[in-house]
Amino acid sequence: MSDFSPSANPTVLGPDCRINGDLVLEGDVLIRGRFEGTLRVTGTLEIADGAAVEGTVLAGAVVLSGKATADFVAEGSVDLTGSAVFRGRVFTGRLSVDDGADFEGGIHVGARALDAAGELLNGAKDSSSVSTNAEAGDALLQRRRPRGMGNGAQQPVTNGAHD
């Protein structure tokens, strides 16, 4: 099973951020605001305390401290801390729910959990319409960069996805 340890520089959706729709992000993601729709994250998705997610989440691993009414599909693990509130279904290889969490729903934990979540996976693949693209971000920065700064002055955008 893959290792989905969180990195030091996750993509952060701040507490004032409200997103509706489909979103694909590469790397780790920290949600502090609200999200509704279909979210695909290749790394670890952390939903902070006070954040809320509705819809379908496909991620490498999920750490939930906030509120979620969703279906979670995680290749690695799903961890719910003591402040988490969850309603929905979980498909994952490893699940941990701490004391104090509020969980109600169905679980499918095991080696074939992703096979059982096939309907969710196919639906999310077809409906993804919003994505970040690393190459597109670099090209945009190249156009907007002043001529005096040179090519290596800025770091390329790292949070992007290739669909």
Binding site: M1, V97, D102, E104, V109
Partner: protein, 193 residues
């Protein structure tokens, strides 16, 4: 014997043999316990009937709920074979990898390596270890499903697991109204005049 040394942990600078008979004032404590006595180990318990929470010593094997007087047993069970039926204890239940349980399980803690099919209510943590197979319904205070375990079930994690609190004692009139008129067969209560 007294070892004289620095208080900061430096090596001792000398060793003096103390004779209690020659000392002008007898020291109050020549020997002392390096550790303070341990407090009695407690376990927190929730009554399965009324959900009243209380704590008692870990040595207790049974107790009555101080609120509703329901008897509660704390037997620790380890199962290694096929069991079908109802298991109720507020102690720890261990299901070995050779075990297969079908039915209703109520316990204080659950550690599962074998198979379980049915309704489980765990008033403490539930640990589903690698190789375990779980189907049915699991209600617990917390749960850990390790990699290699398989669980296809409904899960409910709540600080107060278990059925809703049992209603208090009802009067004969409440029972009479709750039952169908033809079925109960209770004698009619005539108020005193």
């Amino acid at each position: 014997m007294l070892i004289i040394g620095d208080a900061d942990g430096c090596p001792p600078v000398g060793v003096v043999a103390l004779d209690p008979a020659r000392m002008p004032i007898r020291p109050p404590l020549l020997a002392f316990h390096p550790r303070s006595p341990r407090p009695p180990r407690q376990r927190s318990v929730h009554c399965p009937s009324c959900r009243h929470g209380f704590s008692l010593t870990r040595r207790a094997v049974s107790v009555r709920c101080p609120k509703c007087a329901t008897p509660i047993a704390f037997d620790d069970l380890t199962l290694g074979q096929r069991v079908e039926g109802t298991i109720t204890t507020m102690g720890r239940v261990t299901l070995r990898d050779t075990c297969g349980v079908r039915g209703r399980l109520t316990c204080g803690m659950l550690e599962q390596s074998g198979k379980f099919d049915g309704d489980a209510t765990v008033y403490g943590p539930a640990v589903l270890q690698a190789g375990s197979r779980t189907t049915g319904t699991l209600v617990a205070r917390s749960v850990t499903i390790e990699a290699g375990a398989k669980a296809v079930c409904r899960l409910k994690i709540t600080p107060n697991p278990g059925p809703p609190p049992t209603p208090g004692r009802r009067t004969i009139e409440q029972v009479r109204h709750a039952l169908p008129q033809a079925a109960h067969g209770l004698p009619r209560v005539v108020p005193n005049r």
